[in-house]
Each structure stands twice: as C-alpha cells, then as structure tokens.
C-alpha cells in the first residue's frame, strides 16, 4: 500500500442510468444538442431545456457493430492501414416507468391519445369520435392553460388533457414542439379536426383549477399552446403494432455518479427499432447489463430478485419484460431499442452517432 496521491480514484461507479429525451426537428433533421461544457453536470432532477426527464431505465446495453476493415498491401497482404466499415450502432433498455413518452419511444410509431368520446360514437380501437375541444385563450403557458370562466368547470383535478392545435388539413409532421405523426394526405386522417390532439405529446395532468384556468402537474412537453389551440380530455394512451411513422429523438443517458465521476452517453438522433442487435460477436457472448451485475441474486433488502435472463442474439423482439419482484408479483417493463442515426459534428465535419463524455471526480487523476 502507498498513500501516494498521484492516482486517486478513477473508477466511475453507478447503480442506475437516468435517461432524457429531446425532440429532433423532423423537417431539418436537426437534433437537440447536448453540450457537455454548458450543461454536463446538471442536476439530474432538473435537466436543461428542452430535455425531458423520462426516469430511470433498466438493462441498458450499447451495441456497436461498426467494423474496422484492414487495408492490405504488398505481396503478403500485410495490413497497411484500416478504415471503418458501415456504421451500425444500437442501444437497448427497459423503461420501468410507463407514460406517454415512454410508450411512444418503446413502440416507435405514432402514439395515440384516446380522447374522451361521444358515448354514441362508433367504437374504434384508438378512440372514436371525440367530444368537442375547449378553446385555449391567450396568455396560456406550458403549465397554465387559460380557458375562461365557465369553460374550466368541464375539467376536474386529476384529468389528463391534450392541448394542441386543430387539424387544418395540412400535410407533413404535426404536433406542437414535438413531431408526433406525419400526415401525407388529409383524407387518411378523415380530415378530423381533433387529429393533432389524438397524437400530440402536449399532454398533462390537471393539478389545480382556478376560476379561469387549468394548472398542470407537469409542463406540456411541447411547450406553450398556440393561440387557437384546443383542449380535450384524454382517457388512455394507445400505441399500435404497425404503422409507417418512426419516432426520432435525441437521447441522453447519464450514469449517476455514485463515486463522483459522471459518464454521459449522448445520441443526437435515435430511431426506434425492433431489429435486435447481433450482440454475440465474441466468445464471451452478450455482456451482462448493469442491473444484472448489480442485483444478481438477492436485493439490498434480502429479497430474491429475478431479472430477465440475457437474450441470445437473433432473438425476436420482446415488447415487454416481466420482472419478478416477489412471486407472484411482477412489474411490467417497456422494452425499447434504437438505431443510432448519423450527425455531423460541426467542429470537424465528422459523421458520428454517439458521444460519450466523462466528468472526473473533483480531485481524480486525469490519466
């Protein structure tokens, strides 16, 4: 043993991964930038705008199947250099908390808000003819929706609401702040004036009512509603197997710094996938996830914990994970997988799909 201060603790230690997502501008394919110099050591409870806290995840695994190809020369074909082959980077994890955003990210296609409907309307699996919207008045913000006296009485504390514009027969991406769906032809959505509110990410829970407005428990993810927007009650969230729309988000994964050093993984553009990465490319097989390492066997409280076994490569994509808490009680996790899409780093023009940043402990050695 030595008390030399030269090599102080340099081991990042964590027990949980926290994830944040932010919208990609689908028109320009511009991601939300995570600048580690400006916002890297943010308080995990209060991420910098517009990052949305999606909670803790489980079984986080990063896969890189980008190959390095040797460039051979000479009579013996010795490697003279190498180049990178096609970029193929994916991630997989389980959401252990459910919500609008988590379901949308896990399912990957457009995600529906089931609007409160007329009892006499035809039954539809994603919600029938909706009750009319209530108009949003000027002065509304992401946390306070001004409706005016009288109109507020149609809502109660605890209601979930969708707040967005009327559909006005436009084509292209729709949804305030966050692209929620793509409309190629108004006829495909029945020219439904409520269509944007059926898919919007601008949803919230009513926490309080004033004489003229609704106060929300969480801010609307897409920001303040525009003038002329409407509000409708949401009964449930529905995602669908199928569909042609692909979500696209910027993702930020933070390994909580238990020992002082923080590690962040920033993916400028993530597109959901159900194609499983062929992870077993080595003799060791798939690497265990963080949770499987930390909680193998028994939990901190001595309770037997059963996590899903590692899945072999080439497996079918499982939509949900059933995590045994204590038999017969299980928790349902939402399985999510993403393909990393390219982004051009403006500092040097390089095409990249992921940034890994490390913030050492205050007094840790730097190498």
């Amino acid at each position: 043993m030595s008390s030399s201060p030269l090599r102080s603790a340099m081991v990042p230690v964590t027990r949980r991964i926290r994830v944040y997502f932010a919208p990609v501008d689908r028109t320009t394919e511009t991601p939300t930038v995570f600048d580690p110099g400006k916002a890297g050591l943010f308080a995990l409870e209060t991420p910098p705008a517009p990052w949305i806290d999606v909670g803790y995840i489980d079984n986080f695994q990063r896969f890189c199947q980008t190959t390095s190809e040797p460039l051979r020369a000479g009579t013996q074909g010795a490697p003279a250099g190498q180049f990178r082959g096609p970029i193929d980077v994916r991630i997989e994890f389980d959401f252990r908390e459910w919500g609008k955003l988590q379901m949308a990210l896990a399912a990957g296609s457009d995600q529906m808000n089931v609007l409160a409907s007329d009892p006499n309307a035809n039954a539809q699996p994603s919600g029938g003819t909706a009750l009319p919207a209530v108009a949003v008045l000027p002065g509304s913000t992401a946390t306070e929706i001004v409706l005016g006296a009288g109109a507020v009485s149609g809502f109660s504390v605890g209601d979930i609401i969708a707040v967005d514009n009327d559909y006005q027969q436009q084509t292209g991406h729709v949804g305030t702040g966050i692209a929620a769906a793509y409309v190629s032809d108004p006829a495909t959505v029945n020219q439904d004036v409520n269509y944007i509110r059926r898919v919007t990410f601008n949803v919230g829970r009513v926490a309080q009512l004033t004489a003229t407005s609704i106060l929300l428990a969480q801010p609307l993810p897409g920001g303040a509603p525009a003038a002329g927007a409407g509000v409708q009650k949401v009964i449930a969230f529905v995602d669908r197997e199928g569909g042609s729309f692909f979500q696209e988000w910027s993702g930020l994964f933070v390994a909580e710094e238990d020992a002082g050093g923080r590690v962040c993984f920033y993916y400028p553009r993530l597109s959901p996938t159900t194609t499983i990465q062929a992870a077993v490319n080595t003799s060791r097989g798939a690497m265990p996830s963080l949770t499987q390492i930390l909680f193998r066997g028994t939990s901190k409280t001595g309770t037997q914990v059963t996590h899903p076994p590692l899945q072999p490569a080439g497996r079918a994509f499982e939509r949900e994970q059933f995590v045994v808490l204590t038999p017969p009680v299980v928790a349902l996790g939402l399985r999510a997988a993403f393909l990393a899409l390219p982004h051009t780093d403006e500092n040097d023009g390089q095409t990249v799909v992921c940034y890994r940043s490390y913030f050492p402990s205050p007094m840790a050695a730097v190498y």
Binding site: M1, S2, S3, S4, R7, S8, A9, M10, V11, V13, R15, E257, D258, A259, G260, K300, T301, G302, S361, P362, M363, A364, A365
Partner: protein
C-alpha cells in the same frame, strides 16, 4: 475511513435539520439534530435517547472484482431508533416510529455525498464521493412492556424499536500496490 464516517454523519445530520428541524436532541447541554454517532459520545452509562437516530459502524471489506489504484471498500452501518410515542399513553408510538422510519429513508437520499475532511475548518473536499445502499428496515421490536406480553414482536410494549442496516462504500485513502 474516518473521513467516510464523518462525511456520512454530517450529511445525515444536515439533511435531518432540513427534513424535520424539530427532530433534535440535547446532549451535554447542546441542542442539535437528532443524529448521534455512538462512538463519538462520552462513555457514560446512559440509555439511548428516544426519537433519535444512532449510528454504529461495523465491519469493512474490500469490494471484490476491482482492478484499480484505489480500492473500493464497503463498511457496514447500523442505524437504530426507538420511541415511546409523543403522548403519555403512548398510543401514537407506532405512528411516531413510522415518521422516524420515513425520515431515515429521506435523509439517506440521495445515497451519496462528498467525502470531506472535517478535521479541518472549513472542511476540505477530498475529491470522491461516498455512497451507500438504502437502509433495510428490520423488524419492529418492543420492550419495556408488561411481563405477560403475548404478541410475538411485543409491539404492545411501551418502547418500539427499529434497527436499519446499510453499507457505505468509499475509496480507501491509500493506493493498492
């Protein structure tokens, strides 16, 4: 190791003052948040105070599977508390114990803090964090009850006690060679 003990204690003490500023004890004429490290107090035959959190340190081990210059160690810790309730009849002793339990869970989160050298004033940041598992709350036990106690955990007794265990992790102050 002592830095870890001191940092853990100071963190819990400061958090308790924030979570419940009324949860105090008076020891040696000084009123302070009700977090007490038994080994730091005078050796006098005095029974533990009710409605206070007593920290006792146990064994320490090197955590397996490390390849690094600084070894990660885990130290056992027991935090105990007991209550007689807040009224003479003691009928709220279960509720008071639950309050203490939740305060303990609250002050143990987030489960990490800076490791600091409190032998200096002001204290000095030693560069890494210490972190710990969340407390595992043991069974409630009762004592100081009537002789013919019949309930298995004796929770009809005047004093209700809880013992919570956790592990505190820290990087040793010495390098491994």
């Amino acid at each position: 190791m002592q830095f870890t003990k001191d940092s853990f204690y100071m963190t819990l003490r400061e958090r308790l003052a924030s979570v419940n500023s009324q949860r105090t004890v008076t020891l040696n004429g000084v009123t302070r948040p009700a977090v007490i490290v038994a080994e730091n107090e005078l050796v006098v035959p005095v029974t533990p105070l009710p409605n206070a959190f007593y920290i006792e340190w146990g064994g320490a081990q090197v955590v397996d599977g490390q390849i690094a210059s600084r070894i990660l160690m885990a130290m056992d810790c027991v935090i105990s508390h007991h209550t007689f309730g807040t009224v003479e009849s003691g009928v709220d002793r279960g509720r008071t114990l639950a309050e203490l339990d939740m305060e303990l869970m609250a002050i143990c989160q987030p489960p990490r803090t800076d490791k600091r050298d409190y032998t200096q004033s002001p204290s000095v940041d030693l560069g890494t964090d210490i972190f710990w598992t969340l407390p595992a709350l043991g069974a409630v036990t009762g004592s100081m009850g009537p002789l013919n106690e019949s309930l298995p955990e004796k929770t009809q007794s005047a004093q209700l006690e809880r013992r919570a265990v956790l592990q505190v992790f820290f990087f040793s102050e010495v390098n491994s060679l």
